[in-house]
Symmetry: C2
Subunit: 313 residues, 2 copies
C-alpha cells in the first residue's frame, strides 16, 4: 500500500504534481470521515484539530507549513510520528520585519510621520543609533542568524544566545541556553527569534528585562509567550524610555485581551504579519519548501528540520 498525503492547505497544481509522482494526494475538502482519514500517512499541515489528528491513525509524518510547530495539538501526536517544522522558509521576511520594527522604534518613524502629516515639523526628543550598540539575538536558527548578519552590517556589537552557532554566522559573544542573564545584561537592544518550546515559555521575566539598558528596545518576532506578559507590562510602565516592538501576540484570536500591551505608549505593533501573513511571495516560498521536504520523505530520504517531541510536550 502506497503513501497517502493529505494537505490541509490549498496547493498550486505544480506543487501537487510533484507529490503525485510519489503518492496519492488529497487537499482539504477532498477527504472526509474517519475511514478516509485513517488512510493518511503523510500530513502537510496548516491549522489542524486534535480530533482530526486522532482519526489519522496511520500517520507516519507531519510536515508543518509554518516555521513554528508550537501550535500543533501535541497531545494528539503519537511519539512515533515524525514531525518536521518549516524553519528557514520565512527567515528573510521575518528578519527584515525585525529590523523594520527596531529601526522604526529607534528613529521614531510612526511618531514623526503622524506629526508631519498634521503639519508639525518640530524636532523633539532623541533618536537612537544602531551603530555601536549592543544587541542580543535570542535564538540563532534561520531567522536569528539572518538578524545577526544584518546587525553586523549596521556595525552593531552582536551577542548571540542559542543552542549553537551556525557555520558562517559571526557574533561578538555567544551564550548557551543556561546563560540568558549573561546574554541580556547591558544590552541596548534584543530581538527574540526563538521557537516556543517548554524551555523558552516564560523565559523573559521582569528580572531578565531589568538586565537591559533602560533606554532599550526589545523586538519580538518569535512567539509572545516567551515573555511573561504581566512582567513586561510592569517593566514598560516603570521604564517609559524602553520600547517593546512586537509582531507576535499572546491572544491572536481575541487580540483585545492584549490591549494591556498595545495600548501602552512605549510599544510599536504589527498584527503578526512578519512571515507569510502579509506576503504572498513568502507564503508561496513556505509551501514550496514544505512540499520539497514531503518529497524528501516520500523518496525515503531523511527530511530536514525534524523537531524533538519532548521540546513541545
Amino acid at each position: 500500500m502506497g503513501e497517502v498525503v493529505y494537505s490541509t492547505v490549498k496547493l498550486k497544481p505544480e506543487l501537487r504534481r510533484e507529490i503525485e509522482e510519489l503518492a496519492e494526494v488529497y487537499e482539504a475538502g477532498e477527504l472526509g470521515g474517519a475511514a478516509d482519514l485513517s488512510r493518511i500517512t503523510v500530513l502537510l499541515c496548516g491549522p489542524i484539530t486534535g480530533a482530526e489528528l486522532d482519526a489519522m491513525n496511520n500517520l507516519r509524518f507531519i510536515q508543518c507549513v509554518y516555521a513554528g510547530v508550537d501550535s500543533l495539538p501535541w497531545s494528539h501526536i503519537p511519539a512515533d510520528v515524525t514531525v518536521a517544522s518549516n524553519v528557514g522558509s520565512n527567515a528573510d521576511a521575518v528578519a527584515e520585519h525585525a529590523f523594520a520594527l527596531l529601526l522604526a522604534a529607534a528613529k521614531r518613524i510612526t511618531f514623526f510621520d503622524q506629526r508631519v502629516r498634521s503639519g508639525n515639523f518640530e524636532v523633539v526628543g532623541e533618536s537612537r543609533m544602531l551603530h555601536g550598540r549592543r544587541i542580543c539575538v535570542l535564538g540563532l536558527g534561520a531567522i536569528g542568524s539572518r538578524v545577526a548578519e544584518i546587525a553586523k552590517a549596521f556595525k552593531m556589537y552582536v551577542v548571540g544566545y542559542g543552542r549553537s552557532l551556525r557555520s558562517g554566522v559571526t557574533v561578538d559573544e555567544f551564550y548557551p541556553p543556561d546563560r540568558i542573564s549573561d546574554a541580556l545584561r547591558g544590552c541596548d537592544y534584543a530581538v527574540i527569534a526563538l521557537p516556543l518550546t517548554k524551555h523558552t515559555r516564560g523565559l523573559i521575566t521582569y528580572e531578565k528585562l531589568c538586565l537591559m539598558k533602560r533606554e532599550g528596545i526589545l523586538v519580538n518576532v518569535g512567539r509572545a509567550p516567551i515573555i511573561v506578559k504581566e512582567d513586561l507590562v510592569r517593566f514598560l510602565k516603570e521604564n517609559p524610555s524602553f520600547i517593546y516592538a512586537n509582531d507576535v501576540w499572546w491572544n491572536i484570536r481575541s487580540p483585545s485581551e492584549d490591549s494591556d500591551v498595545y495600548s501602552l505608549p512605549n510599544t510599536l505593533s504589527t498584527p503578526w504579519v512578519a512571515g507569510a501573513a502579509s506576503s504572498r511571495e513568502t507564503y508561496e516560498e513556505m509551501l514550496r519548501l514544505a512540499v520539497e521536504n514531503v518529497v524528501r520523505y516520500l523518496r525515503g530520504e531523511r527530511p530536514l528540520n525534524i523537531v524533538r517531541h519532548e521540546d513541545y510536550r
Copy 2:
C-alpha cells in the same frame, strides 16, 4: 599675525582647547562688528548670513559643521576661500534612517501600528520584501556607500549611481552621472543620498520616476530639490502603490508649503531628523570631526572634504 578661528556654533571646552593650542578662538557672541569679523581667518560654520561673510574679509578657510554645504551663501564666498564639507560625519546615522524609512514603508509599520492601537488586527494588503529586490543608491559618498553595504546584507541587488565607487564598496552594477536613466530603470527601490549641487538640482523628473517599478519605494535622505516636486506629486497621484519615504523638504522653514507632498497617502515622512537634528550623539560626532579638520588646516595639512566652488554656483 596668527590664525583667528570663529565658530558660529557652541563648542565643548575640550574641542575649543584643541583649536586654542593653534589659534585664537571665538564662539558665537564673543565677536561683533565689522572690525572684529575682519580678523577671522577660519570659520567653523553652522548657519551664517551673506552679510556676516562679507564682513569676514580675511577669511581663508570655511569648515562646514553639516555634511551638505548647499545652504552656504555661496555668492558671498570669494573663489580663493577653501571650503570643506563635513561629509561622513553623520553617514551611519543617515544610512540607518534611510533603512528605517525603506523598511517602514515596505512592511507598512505606521499603517499596522495605528490599526493595532485601535484593536484592529485584521491583516490586509501585501508587505514587500527587500531580499532579491533591485535598489538604486543615488550618490556613493559616505552615506550612499553605507546604504549600499547594508543593502547587500539584506541580499538586495544593488545598483550604484555616482561619480565613483569607493574602494571596499561593492555594487552589482555601477552607472556614472550621465547615466541616471540606466541606473533607475526597473528598480524596485531607490535611495537618494546625493549632495545638492547645480548638477543634481532637479535631477529626478517625472520621466525618471516612470523608469522605476510602479510598486516602488523612493527614499530621500539627500536634499529635496534634487526632485522636481510637481513631478513627484503628479507621479505619486498616478501611482498609488508607489511610496515616497522622505526626511528632507523643499520648504523646511514653512513646511506647510510642502503639504502637497506630505498629505498624500502614499508618503512616509520625518521632519529632517536623519542626521544631527534628533541625535545629540551624532551632532557631537559631527562637531568633533569638523574641529579635527580645522586643526588639520591650522597645522598646515590639507583638510579633508574640500568642495569645488563651481559645483555650487
